[in-house]
Symmetry: C2
């Protein structure tokens, strides 16, 4: 019987869930591992055994959120009508996802400071990956200018990211969101190859 593994799995899930809440509410630095583990009836012993250290637990939380974002990005892409529309839709979806306080605090603010450049994360930043994939297709079909694939993907996701941070920091997010999306579309159109002549 595998009761050991089962409860171990449960405990890991409990810890990640508690950590997700703590990191989102207080930020990485201010989140107390003692408090977090006690909240789910464990001690730091379980934490250090399962995740190595505080950063390890943080990385697990980032990975979880990133997976959820990837799932949503895939769904968005599936619904899109054509490659170019898909690129726009992915960017807009990224902007909207970044409005979630959890995503902002954990993935966008603390993430890079704690784990370094997103391209080196274990979760490999699914949203960037999705954009890169779509850009790759558009490059093949010569829909967009012959730019470096990674460069184009980075700039697009970077623009979307900053748009999201702006929207989130504004006084009336619901009001500026359309402006952000409009600007994103404009900027993205700069990649188009056509001088529709």
């Amino acid at each position: 019987m595998a009761k050991r593994l089962e409860t171990m799995e449960e405990n890991r899930n409990k810890l990640v869930a508690a950590a997700r809440k703590a990191f989102a509410d207080r930020g990485f630095a201010a989140a107390s591992m003692d408090e977090l583990t006690a909240d789910v009836g464990l001690t730091r012993g379980a934490l250090y055994h399962n995740f190595g250290d505080k950063r390890g637990l943080f990385a697990a939380v980032v990975h979880q959120i990133d997976s959820e974002m990837a799932l949503r990005a895939k769904e968005i892409a599936r619904l899109a009508d054509g490659d170019w529309q898909r690129l726009l839709a992915e960017g807009e979806a990224y902007i909207e996802m970044a409005l979630d306080p959890e995503v902002q605090r954990i993935v966008l603010l603390d993430g890079p400071a704690v784990l370094g450049d997103p391209s080196k994360w274990p979760s490999q930043n699914s949203c960037l990956a999705a954009t890169r994939q779509t850009v790759s297709t558009l490059l093949e079909r010569k829909v967009i200018k012959p730019l470096d694939e990674e460069a184009a993907a980075r700039l697009l996701s970077g623009a979307a990211l900053n748009a999201a941070l702006w929207v989130a920091a504004s006084d009336s997010p619901k009001e500026v969101l359309p402006k952000a999306i409009e600007a994103f579309r404009a900027i993205a159109s700069g990649l188009l190859a056509v001088d529709q002549s």
Copy 2:
């Protein structure tokens, strides 16, 4: 005589200089205030009297770096030939400045995590401000599409920022820098109003 004020100023400068080095080398969290102050022959007493707390000292460092960036941005803008060229030049300058490890670690990585959204910093993020200024001019002269001023400025600086992080994280920065700049120009051109018909 104002000897008190004079040495106080000196001490502040010493502390900021030491902090700049420590924060750049180790990051905000790992920088020890004890060690930092001892390096310049002081104790934490001076630090807490002059800057309030660790974050206060960090904010002072960010402000100093930001001022230097603003100075450089102004010089770049002055040399540019025309408003549109100025916008491009500012963006490219931003990318290049972000290659400096000090700028990356302190302003781009730890800055947002420690101080929150750049738009609320005491230094008010001079590079973003410069871009906003230029965008404003271009909007008045109808050189670019009638977008929200703040949105356009944010997306542009966001794209430049991510481009810089990508270049910096790459294996051969000097090789990918031109690709990043090329992509930035493409994206920026999406803002242009002309359907050059």
